[in-house]
């Protein structure tokens, strides 16, 4: 099959590549762009591990064709930190045990980031709703919920400063 030219915006950078047209965004990110921070657990839209932000909305990158993302803004876990400084959500996840094996973590971080963009101080039950499509087998979710709350507090503090 002929490759297609693709122009994407990934983590604020314009990227041009040529890919097989049947490739999912997940495959293009991981295999063509080397952004392996985005994970996969099923490639069927069941686990949430591959969630990325497309125009700010969490989407399962295993269910989106890369070609559909032309001219859209994609954010992956690699784009969260500011330079060497962790995003407050990332720091809270690391501090509070929200990442054990770390495999579901990128998808949950981005889902949480999108939630906090809409609702800066969500309740625990809103957080649980927002991440209910992201399966985690390690934590039992409690430390993840706490870390998202803590991340929200830290972002609030930053805004006030």
């Amino acid at each position: 099959m002929r490759h297609a030219q693709l122009a994407l915006s990934v983590n604020g950078e314009a990227v041009e590549t040529s890919v097989a047209p049947y490739k999912t965004l997940l495959e293009v990110l991981r295999e063509d762009l080397g952004l392996t921070g985005t994970k996969h657990g099923c490639e069927l839209g069941e686990c949430g591990a591959c969630a990325v932000l497309i125009d700010g909305e969490p989407q399962l990158s295993c269910l989106v064709l890369a070609l559909e993302c032309e001219a859209r803004e994609i954010e992956t876990v690699e784009g969260m930190a500011r330079g060497a400084q962790l995003h407050p959500l990332q720091a809270a996840f690391a501090d509070l045990g929200a990442a054990q094996c770390g495999y579901c973590t990128p998808g949950i971080l981005l889902t949480a980031k999108a939630l906090l963009a809409r609702e800066p101080r969500p309740t625990p039950s809103r957080i649980k709703e927002a991440i209910s499509g992201n399966l985690c087998r390690c934590t039992g979710y409690q430390q993840i919920v706490e870390a998202i709350e803590e991340g929200a507090r830290r972002m609030d503090d930053e805004r006030r400063r």
Partner: protein, 804 residues
Amino acid sequence: MNVVGKPRRRVDGRAKVTGQTRFADDFALPRMVHLKLLRSPHAHALIESLDVARAQAHPGVHLVLTGKDFPVTFGILPVTQDEYALAPEHVRYVGDPVAGVVARDEQTATEALDLIEVRYHPLEPIATPEEALAKPEPRIHAYGERGNIHRLQAFQFGDADAAIAASDHVFEDIFFYEGNTHLPIEQHACVAALDADGKLTLWSSTQVPHYVHRALARVLRMPASQIRVIATPNGGGFGGKTDICNHELVAAKAALVLGRPVKICLNREEVFYMHRGRHPVLMKFRTGVTKDGKLTGMHLQTLVDGGAYGSYGVASTFYTGALQTVTYELPRYQFEAARVFTNKPPCGPKRGHGTPQPRYGQEIQLDKIAERLDKDPAELRLAMLAKPNSLTANWLRIGSIGLEQCIKTVVERSDWKNRYRKLPQGRGLGLACGAYLCGAGLPIYWNKMPQSGVQLLLDRSGQVTLFCGATEIGQGSDDVLAAIVSEVLGIDPYEVRCVTGDTGMTPVDLGSYSSRVTLMAGNAAIQAAQKLKSMLAEAAAEDLEVTPERISFANGRVSFESHSLTFAEAVVLAEAKFGTLGAVGSYSPPRAPGKYKGAGVGPSPAYSYTACVVEAQVDPRTGWITIPKIWIAHDIGRTINPVLARGQVEGSVYMGLSEALMEEQVFRRLPPKLSRALVHKMPSLLEYKSITSLEMPEMDTVLIEDPDPNGPFGAKEVGQGPLLPVPPAVANAIHDAVGVRINEIPITPDKVMRALEKKAKGEAPRVGPERFPDVPYPQPLIVPPAWEGGDGSEVKRHDAAAVV
């Protein structure tokens, strides 16, 4: 303590939240090609012919491998070397691999799989343990006890039947615990490549690089020194990555043949076929109790559904009985077990390995005993706790036991005394306990070498590098090792660089299974660090003009009173005095007191203890179960990093609850016109139900510290034990809520409804297995407990004739 016990970001925390942790499927090497496996569509069949010509000719295909390329068998246990990387003639479950295609990309390899022509001669599949017992033919394996019985075990530690017969009360119950799978979110993956020097390297999502290393050497018929296995950080393991995997062997062979890197990542469906998960176990408990609630004896029988291969099954089968003695005083104990082969993906070790199933039965039966004797279930248990520093009937040596404090903690925090048996209809509380190993006392293959080794290097920059074969599977083994070394050397844990899970670089550690890493690798790390500490102390003492024992190590400084050196300065002095600085430490568990045949499974340097209270809400119209809150207290001995320890407890609660309420690895028979194959009912993450963030209750987690002399700083395990009490506590809470007993896992709304209907009709309000089949257990091995004059040996040799 400066580091141990302080809540901290884990040393690999930054990598995990930035997506920089490199999992096996994140590796891409130049010239890499891709492997896919062709799997059997039959549950049981002989391969009549296999034609790969069309696949080989498919454009983009580099290599096709079949069973002919793998004449040597493998298996995780030396006694069950019963698997082939690719089945040469006999397939034993739907999903058994028969061929491998290596192509330029996954898509091409997948296309070529369809071009392989296999003619099968289907055999009758054996679906259940009952069938396996009833049908010796067709045999799934040519080895085993006989027919489709893989293994029979029987032990008598004192005459339990006589003790039970003489008891005030006798309880007999049958329970069933359905199989379930680990479901790590990371699918198994590996990359095999030839290094520039022609040696083989395998990067794999394995919990046991040492065992994979040994299996590769055997199957590929290569010297082990020419092979390097690197365990990439696992994206969840839970026991699912503790076996040798077919795809690891096939990828390695393909890399050797092609001379280029070969990658495979299983798809989610294949992960369900790889399995090695929780064995389905049918159990019968006969227990004698005095009128004041003391156990007099227990006779436990188990029937274990092994699936198609041995895997860890012989050990798993022992574990369905080995740990019934370590929580409560049990003067006499008889245990009989059978593992049978069936044509389903092989079962193996999942978190708790063989022990959650009997724990479920034991703790529900104790609830019934408390009810019959009109005692509080917590008080009943508190009055019968095993004693610290004691021997059990089956000759296990117990060290510290913090279970009393665990029970009292969850009782107090859940307001048990005011709420148990007092909540409104539909709402209830249930209590259960558990105990687990801190590492198996014996290695998987017999040897006299240490189970864990650690090497430390120091250089004049002050840099500390730790090498250990332990594998980071998310549990925090790197963090534990860094914390322990930094505690001894008085430095910051983030100063320690950990190189782990690499058979080419690190001393052998047997792997991340049986909750062994903190205790075993931790002790090895202490030993290595202390050797370096004394060298540093000696060198610093000379400089500060004091005796070495007066030198202290803390906060990155090596000091005597107000005089101090930086850690790096002390290293420079020591390197000048002693030469290049390095030290090794190793750990071998204490010798177990049991000497009888079979005494190898169950001993551990220490045992962890857990108590749990579950609150349940049951809707009597629908049977729907909601769990609002769980209280759990775990005796961890000593907490190394409370953030991670709590995460292990809560992750165990989650997994136990998910098993209790919904997870099941079950199969259905296709209709005869579709081959009658036994197929997995739901090999997908959507259909295989597991708890999400929405169903997860609030957890109240307490770590109890009763240090064990065998643990590093007194530490015991935390990764598996806390799962054990959760399923029975759920069952007991449902009983308190609506008065029905569900003696079967998972506890689903339809079972609750059936029990409620029986209750309404005045029948016994119980749902679960009704009968225990006749199992031809052999004459038991007779091993008298210490208090009956035993010395840890059997008194009568195993009567081999009785087995046949």
